[in-house]
Symmetry: C2
Subunit: 260 residues, 2 copies
DNA sequence: ATTTACATTTCGGGG
DNA sequence: CCCCGAAGTGTAAAT
């Protein structure tokens, strides 16, 4: 008879509370990932305070000291702690888990009346996560090929610092006029327009010449349209997809440079 | 011998993929909460794109059609979908879960090579969640008793609408001067100061008289201090805790009105 | 350590 | 439905 492979996880089904407490202790010490499902109350106190009466929830405690309490619906946990918590377990009729986060001096208490099931293990996961086309990558694409915004546009300075922050793109257009570009990966709202206005004003004040202000984004929110018009600024469409194409092309070129 | 209580959850330990697929199908149809742990890859495509190679992860699918993929560390899931997904399962050597979200036209694919364990159930959770001292509650406290900000301050208008948005608090001080208050629950930064400045300018333009601008917050970020000074605005300390006291006091008063 | 800006932000409220 | 802004925002990069 073949042997059972070494258990990759420890599982308790409908455990008594002392048994659950013991396994929690051990798992926290070993920095395992723990999933606990059962009837629990939650109290949080820190930057704010919250309370949540009894109900069946799923709790995940990770080896980095982060905690999340999930209800039957909603993407976000109803209560949580970011990484870096000091975890402790106690038993006094109920099973209590305390996650204290020194960084913000905040405490999350979970009080279990019963545990349906509980699993602990150390997931093996060394893969690298890759996300494509962030706003930064869109900026790279624009710097790499300013013509994707308008023909004849040239880069003058990369991440130019002015009074309130950094300009995404600072250049000259085909007629030699200064251009300040405010780049947004998502639909641009009023806030983006006002931010651009401040950059334009700052550059205009320091150079003494007229400066074009351009919002580059996949589209505009409705309020932004009026704001642009009122402030004499422009919009040009630039999508993450288009930028991805430019970046892909550039990568291909780089490779081809090494070919005979 | 006491009977086992009706199973509150269905659990599979190290299932074969077809078995896992069948249970997933059933659970998705019943809108249960499902936890799957195993070796999986992830591909996301929608507002952005991402890919993540194989590794052991914990996946939670909720009855509302939200999905999250958790790695051994980090509070936030590495991949996810908010509620409202159409879920499908297929089997072709690997076990594939697809979560498609029509609202944003985005797709998350999870490809399991193996499943360590899997649990499905419908958590019973009807408790009400209460969060104390949000920014809105701080505003309520300030409206209820403006003197917590400064002696003699009176409310003129609640959520007054001006050009770019709503003023948190609009009133008159002890000397009859107009006061615009920008309220922040956390430390106020430069952004809050600039927002206030816009409101002050708008009110000043429409009334033609001088307007005081006050940032009310638990404290100031460093940059905000200078910005305040430069723009001729003021800061007054207001903490969530102080507001909680006012709200508590008001509640007590309300009750006492009904006492003989 | 603190500040700043981004996020596949999510989420709720109001028009 | 979209728009807007708060969040116990979390997170990483820059100062």
């Amino acid at each position: 008879m073949p042997q059972t492979p070494a258990a990759r996880y420890r599982l308790l089904t409908t455990p008594k509370l002392p048994e659950a407490a013991a396994q929690l202790q051990a798992s926290f010490r070993r920095r395992e990932l723990v999933i606990v499902a059962g009837d629990c109350q939650c109290r949080y106190s820190g930057r704010a305070s919250s309370s949540l009466g009894p109900g069946e929830r799923v709790v995940i405690v990770k080896g980095d000291g982060s905690v999340q309490v999930h209800r039957p619906a909603r993407y976000e946990p109803v209560n949580w702690q970011p990484p870096g918590c000091i975890l402790s377990v106690s038993l006094d009729g109920a099973l209590r888990i305390r996650a204290y986060r020194p960084k913000q001096n905040e405490t999350l208490d979970l009080i279990f009346e019963s545990v349906m099931f509980m699993v602990s293990f150390k997931p093996v996961d060394r893969a690298e996560f890759n996300l494509y086309v962030s706003e930064e990558q869109m900026r790279d694409a624009l710097v790499s090929d300013p013509s994707i915004l308008e023909a004849g546009l040239r880069l003058l300075e990369f991440e130019r610092k002015v009074e309130p922050g950094f300009i995404d793109f600072y250049g000259k257009d085909v007629d030699g006029r200064l251009v300040v570009v405010e780049l947004k990966r998502n639909l641009a709202g009023k806030d983006a327009v006002l931010q651009l206005k401040r950059y334009v004003d700052a550059v205009s004040a320091s150079t003494g010449v007229h400066v074009r202000g351009v919002v580059a984004a996949p589209g505009l929110r409705s309020g932004a349209q009026e704001a642009l018009a009122a402030l004499g600024l422009e919009f040009r469409k630039l999508t993450p997809r288009r930028c991805a194409e430019v970046l892909e092309r550039r990568k291909t070129r780089r490779i081809s440079e090494y070919l005979p």
